[in-house]
Protein backbone atom coordinates (compact mmCIF):
# COMPACT_ATOMS: atom_id res chain seq x y z
CA UNK A 1 0.00 0.00 0.00
CA UNK A 2 2.93 2.29 0.75
CA UNK A 3 4.22 1.65 -2.77
CA UNK A 4 0.82 2.56 -4.20
CA UNK A 5 0.96 5.88 -2.36
CA UNK A 6 4.45 6.46 -3.79
CA UNK A 7 3.21 5.82 -7.32
CA UNK A 8 0.26 8.18 -6.84
CA UNK A 9 2.65 10.82 -5.47
CA UNK A 10 4.93 10.33 -8.48
CA UNK A 11 2.04 10.86 -10.90
CA UNK A 12 0.91 13.97 -9.03
CA UNK A 13 4.48 15.33 -9.05
CA UNK A 14 4.79 14.76 -12.79
CA UNK A 15 1.43 16.49 -13.32
CA UNK A 16 2.63 19.55 -11.35
CA UNK A 17 5.86 19.56 -13.36
CA UNK A 18 4.04 19.25 -16.69
CA UNK A 19 1.50 21.96 -15.91
CA UNK A 20 3.64 24.96 -17.13
CA UNK A 21 3.96 23.34 -20.55
CA UNK A 22 0.23 23.73 -21.03
CA UNK A 23 0.81 27.49 -20.97
CA UNK A 24 3.92 27.86 -23.13
CA UNK A 25 5.32 25.81 -25.98
CA UNK A 26 8.27 23.53 -25.24
CA UNK A 27 11.54 25.42 -25.29
CA UNK A 28 15.08 24.51 -24.42
CA UNK A 29 15.17 26.90 -21.45
CA UNK A 30 12.10 25.46 -19.77
CA UNK A 31 13.12 21.91 -20.49
CA UNK A 32 16.56 22.66 -18.99
CA UNK A 33 14.79 23.99 -15.91
CA UNK A 34 12.41 21.05 -15.69
CA UNK A 35 15.07 18.35 -15.95
CA UNK A 36 16.71 19.17 -12.58
CA UNK A 37 13.26 19.40 -11.03
CA UNK A 38 12.37 16.01 -12.49
CA UNK A 39 15.64 14.56 -11.21
CA UNK A 40 14.91 15.98 -7.76
CA UNK A 41 11.42 14.49 -7.87
CA UNK A 42 12.81 11.09 -8.86
CA UNK A 43 15.48 11.26 -6.17
CA UNK A 44 12.85 12.27 -3.61
CA UNK A 45 10.73 9.27 -4.56
CA UNK A 46 13.70 6.91 -4.56
CA UNK A 47 15.43 8.20 -1.44
CA UNK A 48 12.12 8.67 0.28
CA UNK A 49 13.40 10.93 2.97
CA UNK A 50 11.57 13.84 4.52
CA UNK A 51 14.11 16.40 3.30
CA UNK A 52 14.19 15.03 -0.24
CA UNK A 53 10.44 15.36 -0.52
CA UNK A 54 10.55 18.96 0.70
CA UNK A 55 13.27 19.85 -1.82
CA UNK A 56 11.38 17.95 -4.54
CA UNK A 57 8.18 19.88 -3.78
CA UNK A 58 10.01 23.23 -3.99
CA UNK A 59 11.69 22.17 -7.23
CA UNK A 60 8.36 21.20 -8.80
CA UNK A 61 7.15 24.81 -8.58
CA UNK A 62 10.34 26.28 -10.12
CA UNK A 63 9.36 25.87 -13.81
CA UNK A 64 5.99 27.48 -13.20
CA UNK A 65 7.57 30.42 -11.36
CA UNK A 66 9.98 30.82 -14.29
CA UNK A 67 7.17 30.74 -16.83
CA UNK A 68 5.12 33.28 -14.88
CA UNK A 69 8.10 35.51 -14.14
CA UNK A 70 9.76 35.56 -17.55
CA UNK A 71 6.82 35.49 -19.93
CA UNK A 72 4.59 38.54 -20.15
CA UNK A 73 1.35 36.64 -20.00
CA UNK A 74 -2.22 37.36 -18.97
CA UNK A 75 -3.43 35.93 -15.66
CA UNK A 76 -3.52 32.13 -15.72
CA UNK A 77 -7.07 31.30 -14.72
CA UNK A 78 -6.36 27.56 -14.49
CA UNK A 79 -3.79 27.99 -11.71
CA UNK A 80 -6.18 26.70 -8.97
CA UNK A 81 -5.83 23.28 -10.63
CA UNK A 82 -2.05 23.49 -10.27
CA UNK A 83 -2.49 24.60 -6.65
CA UNK A 84 -4.74 21.60 -5.97
CA UNK A 85 -2.22 19.24 -7.62
CA UNK A 86 0.61 20.70 -5.54
CA UNK A 87 -1.37 20.31 -2.31
CA UNK A 88 -2.30 16.73 -3.26
CA UNK A 89 1.33 15.90 -4.02
CA UNK A 90 2.53 17.22 -0.67
CA UNK A 91 -0.26 15.40 1.22
CA UNK A 92 0.12 12.02 -0.51
CA UNK A 93 3.92 12.10 -0.50
CA UNK A 94 3.96 12.87 3.21
CA UNK A 95 1.49 10.07 3.93
CA UNK A 96 3.63 7.66 1.95
CA UNK A 97 6.82 8.63 3.73
CA UNK A 98 5.16 8.70 7.15
CA UNK A 99 4.01 5.08 6.87
CA UNK A 100 6.78 2.67 7.89
CA UNK A 101 7.66 0.04 5.28
CA UNK A 102 5.73 -3.21 5.39
CA UNK A 103 2.92 -1.74 7.44
CA UNK A 104 -0.58 -2.83 6.52
CA UNK A 105 -2.88 0.15 6.30
CA UNK A 106 -6.41 -0.14 7.49
CA UNK A 107 -9.28 1.20 5.44
CA UNK A 108 -10.05 3.89 8.03
CA UNK A 109 -6.63 5.43 7.49
CA UNK A 110 -7.00 5.33 3.69
CA UNK A 111 -10.50 6.75 3.91
CA UNK A 112 -9.18 9.58 6.08
CA UNK A 113 -6.39 10.26 3.59
CA UNK A 114 -8.83 10.29 0.66
CA UNK A 115 -11.10 12.65 2.58
CA UNK A 116 -8.13 14.88 3.36
CA UNK A 117 -7.18 14.96 -0.33
CA UNK A 118 -10.73 15.72 -1.46
CA UNK A 119 -11.09 18.46 1.14
CA UNK A 120 -7.73 19.92 0.14
CA UNK A 121 -8.60 19.91 -3.57
CA UNK A 122 -11.91 21.66 -3.02
CA UNK A 123 -10.21 24.15 -0.72
CA UNK A 124 -7.43 24.89 -3.23
CA UNK A 125 -9.90 25.34 -6.06
CA UNK A 126 -12.16 27.55 -3.94
CA UNK A 127 -9.38 29.76 -2.61
CA UNK A 128 -7.89 30.03 -6.09
CA UNK A 129 -11.16 31.14 -7.62
CA UNK A 130 -11.73 33.69 -4.84
CA UNK A 131 -8.20 35.10 -5.16
CA UNK A 132 -8.43 35.29 -8.95
CA UNK A 133 -11.78 37.00 -8.68
CA UNK A 134 -10.39 39.46 -6.13
CA UNK A 135 -7.39 40.20 -8.32
CA UNK A 136 -9.71 40.95 -11.25
CA UNK A 137 -11.29 43.84 -9.34
CA UNK A 138 -9.73 47.08 -10.66
CA UNK A 139 -7.96 48.87 -7.83
CA UNK A 140 -5.75 51.97 -7.91
CA UNK A 141 -2.11 50.97 -8.00
CA UNK A 142 -1.17 52.89 -4.89
CA UNK A 143 1.68 52.56 -2.43
CA UNK A 144 -0.85 51.89 0.34
CA UNK A 145 -2.24 48.85 -1.42
CA UNK A 146 1.26 47.44 -1.96
CA UNK A 147 2.00 47.94 1.73
CA UNK A 148 -1.24 46.19 2.63
CA UNK A 149 -0.31 43.25 0.38
CA UNK A 150 3.09 42.89 1.99
CA UNK A 151 1.52 43.09 5.45
CA UNK A 152 -1.00 40.36 4.48
CA UNK A 153 1.82 38.15 3.20
CA UNK A 154 3.80 38.69 6.39
CA UNK A 155 0.69 37.82 8.41
CA UNK A 156 0.08 34.69 6.31
CA UNK A 157 3.60 33.47 6.97
CA UNK A 158 3.77 34.72 10.54
CA UNK A 159 0.55 33.12 11.74
CA UNK A 160 1.72 29.52 11.37
CA UNK A 161 4.95 30.40 13.12
CA UNK A 162 2.98 32.06 15.94
CA UNK A 163 0.70 29.02 16.24
CA UNK A 164 3.70 26.74 16.24
CA UNK A 165 5.37 28.72 19.02
CA UNK A 166 2.16 28.42 21.05
CA UNK A 167 2.23 24.65 20.68
CA UNK A 168 5.74 24.40 21.96
CA UNK A 169 4.87 26.08 25.25
CA UNK A 170 5.15 23.28 27.75
CA UNK A 171 2.58 20.94 26.32
CA UNK A 172 3.10 17.52 27.87
CA UNK A 173 3.89 14.35 25.95
CA UNK A 174 5.71 15.79 23.00
CA UNK A 175 8.51 13.32 22.71
CA UNK A 176 8.51 12.72 26.44
CA UNK A 177 8.59 9.03 27.14
CA UNK A 178 7.18 7.03 28.61
CA UNK A 179 3.99 8.98 29.05
CA UNK A 180 0.96 7.19 30.45
CA UNK A 181 -1.27 9.29 28.26
CA UNK A 182 -0.03 11.03 25.20
CA UNK A 183 -0.99 14.55 24.25
CA UNK A 184 0.45 16.10 21.18
Amino acid sequence: MRELLRIVAAFLGCAVLAYPFTLVPLSRGYIALSVPALLLLISALVLWSEGAITVGAIALTAPYVAVIGVEDRPVDVAVPVAAALLLLFVTVADAAVAVPPGTPLETGFLRGLALDCARGSVLALGIGVVLLAASAVPLPNSQLLRSLGIAAAALALGMPIRLLAGRRDGRPGNGVEPAPRMTL
Partner: protein
Protein backbone atom coordinates in the same frame (compact mmCIF):
# COMPACT_ATOMS: atom_id res chain seq x y z
CA UNK B 1 5.65 18.39 18.42
CA UNK B 2 5.96 19.79 14.88
CA UNK B 3 6.06 17.15 12.19
CA UNK B 4 8.15 17.36 8.98
CA UNK B 5 4.99 18.15 7.03
CA UNK B 6 4.70 21.49 8.84
CA UNK B 7 8.17 22.59 7.74
CA UNK B 8 7.43 21.35 4.23
CA UNK B 9 4.27 23.48 3.97
CA UNK B 10 6.16 26.57 5.08
CA UNK B 11 9.18 25.80 2.87
CA UNK B 12 6.99 25.47 -0.23
CA UNK B 13 4.53 28.28 0.52
CA UNK B 14 6.97 31.00 1.63
CA UNK B 15 8.99 31.29 -1.63
CA UNK B 16 5.81 31.20 -3.69
CA UNK B 17 4.23 33.97 -1.64
CA UNK B 18 7.34 36.14 -1.71
CA UNK B 19 7.75 35.45 -5.43
CA UNK B 20 4.18 36.50 -6.02
CA UNK B 21 4.74 39.78 -4.16
CA UNK B 22 8.01 40.52 -5.90
CA UNK B 23 6.81 39.64 -9.39
CA UNK B 24 3.34 41.07 -8.81
CA UNK B 25 1.67 37.84 -10.00
CA UNK B 26 -1.44 36.56 -8.30
CA UNK B 27 -0.88 33.02 -9.66
CA UNK B 28 1.97 32.39 -7.24
CA UNK B 29 -0.18 33.61 -4.32
CA UNK B 30 -2.92 31.23 -5.50
CA UNK B 31 -0.39 28.38 -5.38
CA UNK B 32 0.75 29.27 -1.86
CA UNK B 33 -2.62 30.17 -0.31
CA UNK B 34 -4.11 26.64 0.05
CA UNK B 35 -0.93 25.43 1.73
CA UNK B 36 -1.09 28.25 4.27
CA UNK B 37 -4.79 27.76 4.92
CA UNK B 38 -4.35 24.02 5.52
CA UNK B 39 -1.38 24.82 7.71
CA UNK B 40 -3.34 27.23 9.92
CA UNK B 41 -6.37 24.93 10.04
CA UNK B 42 -4.16 22.02 11.12
CA UNK B 43 -2.49 24.05 13.83
CA UNK B 44 -5.78 25.40 15.15
CA UNK B 45 -7.34 21.93 15.34
CA UNK B 46 -7.51 20.15 18.70
CA UNK B 47 -4.76 17.71 19.59
CA UNK B 48 -5.49 14.03 19.61
CA UNK B 49 -5.11 12.37 22.99
CA UNK B 50 -4.27 8.73 22.59
CA UNK B 51 -3.72 6.15 25.31
CA UNK B 52 -2.22 2.74 24.66
CA UNK B 53 -2.31 -0.50 26.60
CA UNK B 54 -0.40 -3.70 25.90
CA UNK B 55 -1.71 -7.02 27.22
CA UNK B 56 -0.85 -10.67 26.69
CA UNK B 57 -3.39 -13.46 26.64
CA UNK B 58 -1.15 -15.37 29.06
CA UNK B 59 1.91 -14.42 31.04
CA UNK B 60 3.16 -18.03 30.91
CA UNK B 61 3.11 -20.46 28.05
CA UNK B 62 4.80 -23.60 26.86
CA UNK B 63 7.35 -23.77 24.08
CA UNK B 64 5.71 -23.48 20.63
CA UNK B 65 2.43 -22.44 22.19
CA UNK B 66 0.65 -19.53 20.57
CA UNK B 67 -0.41 -16.49 22.53
CA UNK B 68 -2.06 -13.24 21.54
CA UNK B 69 -0.75 -9.77 22.32
CA UNK B 70 -3.52 -7.18 22.32
CA UNK B 71 -2.76 -3.51 21.84
CA UNK B 72 -5.69 -1.35 22.89
CA UNK B 73 -5.51 2.12 21.40
CA UNK B 74 -8.08 4.64 22.48
CA UNK B 75 -8.59 8.27 21.62
CA UNK B 76 -10.04 10.48 24.32
CA UNK B 77 -13.52 11.84 23.67
CA UNK B 78 -13.41 15.55 22.93
CA UNK B 79 -9.88 15.43 21.60
CA UNK B 80 -8.83 15.84 17.99
CA UNK B 81 -8.84 13.12 15.38
CA UNK B 82 -5.68 11.03 15.19
CA UNK B 83 -5.09 10.89 11.45
CA UNK B 84 -2.36 8.32 11.70
CA UNK B 85 -1.37 6.09 14.61
CA UNK B 86 1.66 3.92 13.88
CA UNK B 87 2.02 0.98 16.23
CA UNK B 88 5.25 -0.99 16.29
CA UNK B 89 5.50 -3.95 18.62
CA UNK B 90 9.00 -5.33 19.13
CA UNK B 91 9.66 -8.73 20.64
CA UNK B 92 12.47 -10.98 21.76
CA UNK B 93 14.55 -12.99 19.32
CA UNK B 94 13.07 -16.29 20.49
CA UNK B 95 9.54 -15.17 19.61
CA UNK B 96 7.97 -15.41 16.18
CA UNK B 97 5.21 -13.03 15.17
CA UNK B 98 2.34 -14.64 13.28
CA UNK B 99 0.74 -11.32 12.35
CA UNK B 100 2.20 -7.97 11.24
CA UNK B 101 3.72 -6.14 14.18
CA UNK B 102 3.61 -2.74 12.46
CA UNK B 103 0.10 -1.46 12.05
CA UNK B 104 -1.22 1.95 11.06
CA UNK B 105 -4.69 2.97 12.13
CA UNK B 106 -6.74 6.15 12.27
CA UNK B 107 -8.80 7.03 15.32
CA UNK B 108 -11.81 9.27 15.67
CA UNK B 109 -12.34 11.02 19.04
CA UNK B 110 -13.65 8.53 21.61
CA UNK B 111 -12.85 5.53 19.44
CA UNK B 112 -11.26 2.43 20.95
CA UNK B 113 -9.44 -0.07 18.76
CA UNK B 114 -7.96 -3.46 19.65
CA UNK B 115 -5.07 -4.62 17.48
CA UNK B 116 -4.18 -8.27 18.03
CA UNK B 117 -0.85 -9.85 17.16
CA UNK B 118 -0.36 -13.60 17.32
CA UNK B 119 2.96 -14.66 18.81
CA UNK B 120 4.68 -18.00 19.12
CA UNK B 121 7.47 -18.60 21.60
CA UNK B 122 10.13 -20.80 20.07
CA UNK B 123 12.42 -21.27 23.04
CA UNK B 124 12.08 -21.53 26.80
CA UNK B 125 13.09 -18.62 29.01
CA UNK B 126 11.82 -15.20 29.95
CA UNK B 127 11.30 -13.15 26.81
CA UNK B 128 10.18 -9.59 26.33
CA UNK B 129 7.10 -8.74 24.33
CA UNK B 130 7.67 -5.09 23.63
CA UNK B 131 8.48 -2.30 23.90
CA UNK B 132 5.56 -0.93 21.97
CA UNK B 133 6.30 2.28 20.11
CA UNK B 134 3.38 4.50 19.17
CA UNK B 135 3.65 7.48 16.84
CA UNK B 136 0.55 9.66 16.53
CA UNK B 137 -0.05 12.29 13.87
CA UNK B 138 -2.69 14.94 14.27
CA UNK B 139 -4.74 16.84 11.70
CA UNK B 140 -3.05 16.88 8.24
CA UNK B 141 0.00 15.24 9.89
CA UNK B 142 1.29 18.69 10.83
CA UNK B 143 1.98 17.74 14.42
CA UNK B 144 3.06 14.43 15.82
CA UNK B 145 4.13 12.80 19.03
CA UNK B 146 5.32 9.48 20.21
CA UNK B 147 5.27 7.36 23.27
CA UNK B 148 6.38 3.89 24.24
CA UNK B 149 5.07 1.15 26.46
CA UNK B 150 7.50 -0.95 28.43
CA UNK B 151 7.98 -4.58 27.46
CA UNK B 152 5.83 -7.23 29.10
CA UNK B 153 7.72 -10.36 30.20
CA UNK B 154 6.55 -13.67 28.80
CA UNK B 155 7.64 -16.78 30.68
CA UNK B 156 8.06 -19.69 28.32
CA UNK B 157 8.16 -22.97 30.19
CA UNK B 158 10.47 -25.54 28.61
CA UNK B 159 9.04 -28.56 26.90
CA UNK B 160 9.46 -31.37 29.37
CA UNK B 161 11.43 -34.41 28.25
CA UNK B 162 9.74 -37.68 29.07
CA UNK B 163 11.62 -39.34 31.90
CA UNK B 164 11.01 -42.45 33.94
CA UNK B 165 13.49 -44.22 36.17
CA UNK B 166 13.48 -47.32 38.31
CA UNK B 167 13.76 -47.41 42.07
CA UNK B 168 17.53 -47.65 42.12
CA UNK B 169 18.94 -44.87 44.19
CA UNK B 170 22.30 -44.88 45.96
CA UNK B 171 21.14 -43.14 49.12
CA UNK B 172 17.89 -42.75 50.95
CA UNK B 173 16.97 -40.45 53.74
CA UNK B 174 15.31 -41.64 56.91
CA UNK B 175 11.96 -40.38 55.76
CA UNK B 176 9.15 -42.36 54.28
CA UNK B 177 9.16 -42.16 50.54
CA UNK B 178 8.85 -44.32 47.48
CA UNK B 179 12.36 -45.68 47.02
CA UNK B 180 12.68 -49.32 47.95
CA UNK B 181 15.77 -49.81 50.09
CA UNK B 182 17.87 -52.89 50.69
CA UNK B 183 17.09 -52.86 54.41
CA UNK B 184 14.05 -54.81 55.61
CA UNK B 185 11.38 -53.04 57.55
CA UNK B 186 7.84 -51.72 57.51
CA UNK B 187 7.32 -51.24 53.83
CA UNK B 188 4.85 -52.52 51.31
CA UNK B 189 7.31 -54.05 48.83
CA UNK B 190 7.67 -57.81 49.28
CA UNK B 191 11.24 -58.90 50.15
CA UNK B 192 11.19 -62.53 51.37
CA UNK B 193 9.64 -65.10 53.73
CA UNK B 194 11.61 -66.11 56.81
CA UNK B 195 11.05 -68.03 60.04
CA UNK B 196 9.32 -66.20 62.85
CA UNK B 197 11.56 -64.65 65.49
CA UNK B 198 10.51 -63.12 68.73
CA UNK B 199 9.23 -59.59 68.27
CA UNK B 200 7.76 -60.12 64.83
CA UNK B 201 4.22 -58.87 64.40
CA UNK B 202 1.61 -61.60 64.14
CA UNK B 203 -0.01 -59.60 61.35
CA UNK B 204 2.94 -60.52 59.14
CA UNK B 205 2.53 -64.28 59.52
CA UNK B 206 2.50 -65.97 56.11
CA UNK B 207 -0.20 -68.62 56.52
CA UNK B 208 0.45 -70.72 53.44
CA UNK B 209 4.19 -71.06 54.18
CA UNK B 210 3.45 -71.75 57.85
CA UNK B 211 0.94 -74.51 56.97
CA UNK B 212 3.22 -76.10 54.42
CA UNK B 213 6.41 -76.04 56.49
CA UNK B 214 4.80 -76.64 59.88
CA UNK B 215 6.69 -73.76 61.42
CA UNK B 216 5.68 -70.15 61.89
CA UNK B 217 6.90 -67.99 58.97
CA UNK B 218 6.49 -64.28 58.38
CA UNK B 219 6.59 -62.05 55.33
CA UNK B 220 9.47 -59.62 55.18
CA UNK B 221 9.08 -56.26 53.41
CA UNK B 222 11.52 -53.66 52.25
CA UNK B 223 11.48 -50.13 53.59
CA UNK B 224 10.56 -47.30 51.21
CA UNK B 225 12.57 -44.21 51.81
CA UNK B 226 12.83 -40.69 50.52
CA UNK B 227 15.79 -39.48 48.46
CA UNK B 228 17.44 -36.21 47.54
CA UNK B 229 18.33 -35.46 43.96
CA UNK B 230 20.43 -32.50 42.90
CA UNK B 231 20.38 -31.58 39.23
CA UNK B 232 23.56 -29.89 38.14
CA UNK B 233 23.43 -27.99 34.85
CA UNK B 234 26.65 -27.09 33.10
CA UNK B 235 26.15 -23.62 31.61
CA UNK B 236 29.70 -22.96 30.50
CA UNK B 237 28.88 -23.91 26.90
CA UNK B 238 25.92 -24.12 24.60
CA UNK B 239 26.50 -25.99 21.36
CA UNK B 240 24.28 -27.49 18.69
CA UNK B 241 21.61 -26.39 16.26
CA UNK B 242 19.11 -23.74 17.39
CA UNK B 243 16.19 -25.27 19.25
CA UNK B 244 18.14 -28.41 20.14
CA UNK B 245 21.31 -27.04 21.69
CA UNK B 246 23.02 -28.75 24.57
CA UNK B 247 21.51 -26.19 26.96
CA UNK B 248 18.03 -26.83 25.55
CA UNK B 249 18.47 -30.54 26.13
CA UNK B 250 19.84 -29.88 29.63
CA UNK B 251 16.91 -27.69 30.66
CA UNK B 252 14.23 -29.92 29.17
CA UNK B 253 15.83 -33.06 30.63
CA UNK B 254 16.25 -31.36 34.02
CA UNK B 255 12.58 -30.47 34.08
CA UNK B 256 11.61 -34.04 33.17
CA UNK B 257 13.86 -35.53 35.85
CA UNK B 258 12.70 -33.03 38.48
CA UNK B 259 9.06 -33.72 37.63
CA UNK B 260 9.64 -37.47 37.95
CA UNK B 261 11.34 -37.33 41.34
CA UNK B 262 9.04 -34.66 42.77
CA UNK B 263 6.04 -36.74 41.77
CA UNK B 264 7.52 -39.59 43.85
CA UNK B 265 7.83 -37.37 46.89
CA UNK B 266 11.60 -36.90 46.69
CA UNK B 267 13.43 -33.70 47.34
CA UNK B 268 14.94 -32.03 44.29
CA UNK B 269 17.45 -29.20 44.10
CA UNK B 270 19.10 -27.48 41.14
CA UNK B 271 22.58 -26.07 40.67
CA UNK B 272 23.42 -24.01 37.61
CA UNK B 273 27.17 -24.25 37.33
CA UNK B 274 28.76 -21.98 34.76
CA UNK B 275 29.73 -18.37 34.14
CA UNK B 276 27.03 -17.40 36.62
CA UNK B 277 26.49 -19.94 39.35
CA UNK B 278 23.00 -20.19 40.85
CA UNK B 279 21.37 -22.77 43.03
CA UNK B 280 18.04 -23.88 44.38
CA UNK B 281 18.05 -25.68 47.69
CA UNK B 282 16.43 -29.12 47.56
CA UNK B 283 12.78 -29.28 48.46
CA UNK B 284 9.70 -31.36 47.79
CA UNK B 285 6.15 -30.81 46.71
CA UNK B 286 4.24 -28.73 44.24
CA UNK B 287 5.77 -25.44 45.31
CA UNK B 288 9.24 -26.82 44.65
CA UNK B 289 8.10 -27.75 41.15
CA UNK B 290 7.29 -24.10 40.44
CA UNK B 291 10.59 -23.04 42.00
CA UNK B 292 12.46 -25.46 39.74
CA UNK B 293 10.66 -24.09 36.67
CA UNK B 294 11.45 -20.50 37.68
CA UNK B 295 15.06 -21.43 38.25
CA UNK B 296 15.31 -23.14 34.88
CA UNK B 297 13.77 -20.13 33.11
CA UNK B 298 16.71 -18.06 34.26
CA UNK B 299 19.34 -20.46 32.99
CA UNK B 300 21.69 -18.90 30.46
CA UNK B 301 25.24 -19.30 29.29
CA UNK B 302 27.54 -16.79 30.94
CA UNK B 303 30.95 -16.32 29.43
CA UNK B 304 33.62 -16.55 32.09
CA UNK B 305 37.31 -17.30 32.12
CA UNK B 306 37.49 -17.55 35.91
CA UNK B 307 38.27 -20.93 37.37
CA UNK B 308 35.29 -22.31 39.27
CA UNK B 309 34.92 -25.34 41.47
CA UNK B 310 32.37 -26.74 43.87
CA UNK B 311 33.95 -24.78 46.70
CA UNK B 312 31.79 -21.88 45.45
CA UNK B 313 28.62 -23.72 46.31
CA UNK B 314 27.04 -23.32 49.74
CA UNK B 315 26.90 -26.45 51.83
CA UNK B 316 23.09 -26.50 52.04
CA UNK B 317 22.61 -26.80 48.29
CA UNK B 318 24.56 -30.06 48.27
CA UNK B 319 23.01 -32.14 51.06
CA UNK B 320 25.04 -35.15 52.17
CA UNK B 321 24.12 -38.45 50.52
CA UNK B 322 22.40 -36.78 47.61
CA UNK B 323 22.26 -38.17 44.12
CA UNK B 324 23.77 -35.62 41.76
CA UNK B 325 22.60 -35.86 38.16
CA UNK B 326 24.95 -33.64 36.18
CA UNK B 327 23.76 -32.56 32.74
CA UNK B 328 26.61 -31.34 30.62
CA UNK B 329 27.97 -31.32 27.07
CA UNK B 330 31.33 -32.18 28.69
CA UNK B 331 33.25 -29.51 26.85
CA UNK B 332 34.56 -27.40 29.72
CA UNK B 333 37.23 -28.72 32.01
CA UNK B 334 35.84 -26.71 34.95
CA UNK B 335 32.53 -28.58 34.76
CA UNK B 336 34.07 -32.06 34.47
CA UNK B 337 36.47 -31.28 37.32
CA UNK B 338 33.54 -30.21 39.51
CA UNK B 339 31.74 -33.46 38.73
CA UNK B 340 34.83 -35.48 39.57
CA UNK B 341 35.18 -33.55 42.84
CA UNK B 342 31.62 -34.36 43.79
CA UNK B 343 32.14 -38.05 43.05
CA UNK B 344 35.37 -38.01 45.07
CA UNK B 345 33.52 -36.48 48.03
CA UNK B 346 31.15 -39.42 48.14
CA UNK B 347 28.15 -38.12 46.29
CA UNK B 348 26.44 -40.44 43.87
CA UNK B 349 27.13 -38.74 40.57
CA UNK B 350 25.59 -39.62 37.23
CA UNK B 351 26.81 -37.56 34.30
CA UNK B 352 24.38 -37.11 31.42
CA UNK B 353 26.04 -36.11 28.17
CA UNK B 354 23.85 -33.58 26.36
CA UNK B 355 26.18 -32.76 23.47
CA UNK B 356 24.60 -33.04 20.02
CA UNK B 357 25.29 -36.08 17.84
CA UNK B 358 27.21 -34.08 15.26
CA UNK B 359 29.25 -32.10 17.73
CA UNK B 360 32.03 -31.52 15.26
CA UNK B 361 31.45 -30.51 11.65
CA UNK B 362 32.93 -32.60 8.85
CA UNK B 363 36.71 -32.29 8.63
CA UNK B 364 37.73 -29.88 5.89
CA UNK B 365 41.45 -30.45 5.93
CA UNK B 366 44.13 -32.74 7.31
CA UNK B 367 45.00 -30.20 10.01
CA UNK B 368 41.36 -29.93 10.98
CA UNK B 369 41.07 -33.72 11.18
CA UNK B 370 44.16 -33.83 13.39
CA UNK B 371 42.71 -31.18 15.69
CA UNK B 372 39.46 -33.11 15.80
CA UNK B 373 41.30 -36.28 16.82
CA UNK B 374 43.14 -34.45 19.60
CA UNK B 375 39.87 -32.96 20.86
CA UNK B 376 38.13 -36.33 20.83
CA UNK B 377 41.03 -37.99 22.62
CA UNK B 378 41.04 -35.33 25.32
CA UNK B 379 37.29 -35.72 25.72
CA UNK B 380 37.65 -39.50 25.90
CA UNK B 381 40.25 -39.07 28.61
CA UNK B 382 37.90 -36.86 30.60
CA UNK B 383 35.08 -39.37 30.34
CA UNK B 384 37.42 -42.18 31.39
CA UNK B 385 38.56 -40.13 34.37
CA UNK B 386 34.97 -39.56 35.44
CA UNK B 387 34.03 -43.21 35.04
CA UNK B 388 37.11 -44.29 36.96
CA UNK B 389 36.25 -42.07 39.90
CA UNK B 390 32.71 -43.47 40.04
CA UNK B 391 30.72 -41.03 37.95
CA UNK B 392 29.38 -42.96 34.98
CA UNK B 393 28.67 -40.99 31.83
CA UNK B 394 25.60 -41.73 29.76
CA UNK B 395 24.08 -39.99 26.77
CA UNK B 396 20.66 -38.49 27.31
CA UNK B 397 18.15 -41.02 26.01
CA UNK B 398 14.98 -39.96 27.80
CA UNK B 399 12.71 -42.40 29.56
CA UNK B 400 14.55 -45.30 31.20
CA UNK B 401 17.89 -44.06 29.92
CA UNK B 402 19.37 -43.62 33.39
CA UNK B 403 18.17 -46.92 34.90
CA UNK B 404 21.36 -48.83 34.16
CA UNK B 405 23.71 -46.18 35.50
CA UNK B 406 21.55 -45.52 38.54
CA UNK B 407 21.70 -49.22 39.39
CA UNK B 408 25.44 -49.15 38.88
CA UNK B 409 25.87 -46.12 41.13
CA UNK B 410 23.61 -47.69 43.77
CA UNK B 411 25.68 -50.87 43.70
CA UNK B 412 28.88 -48.86 43.87
CA UNK B 413 27.77 -47.02 46.99
CA UNK B 414 26.27 -50.09 48.64
CA UNK B 415 29.47 -52.14 48.55
CA UNK B 416 31.47 -52.50 51.77
CA UNK B 417 34.31 -50.04 52.12
CA UNK B 418 37.37 -49.76 54.25
CA UNK B 419 36.91 -47.13 56.88
CA UNK B 420 39.67 -45.37 58.73
CA UNK B 421 39.26 -45.40 62.49
Amino acid sequence: MPAPQLGRFIAVAAPLLLGGLLLGRVELVVLAAPLLVVLCAGLLARNPEVSVELRLSASRCLEDQRIVATVRVSAAAGSGRAEQVDLHLRYGAAITALDPTRVTVALAPGEVRDVTVGLQAGRWGVHDVGPLTVVVHGRSRLVGGWTARAAVPLRVIPRMEDFRAGDAHPFQRALTGSHVTRSPGDGVEFASIRPYVQGDSLRRVHRRATNRLGELHVTQHQVERNAEVVLMLDTFDDVGPPGATSLDVEVRAALGIAEHYLARGDRVGVITFGGTTRWLVAGAGGVQRHRVIEHLLGVEVGLSYAWKDIGLLPRRCLPPRALVIALSPLLDLRATTAMADLAARGYGVVVVDTSPEDLLPAARSAQYALGERIFLMEREAQLYRLAEIGAPVVRWAGSGGLDAVLTEVSRLHARPRLARR
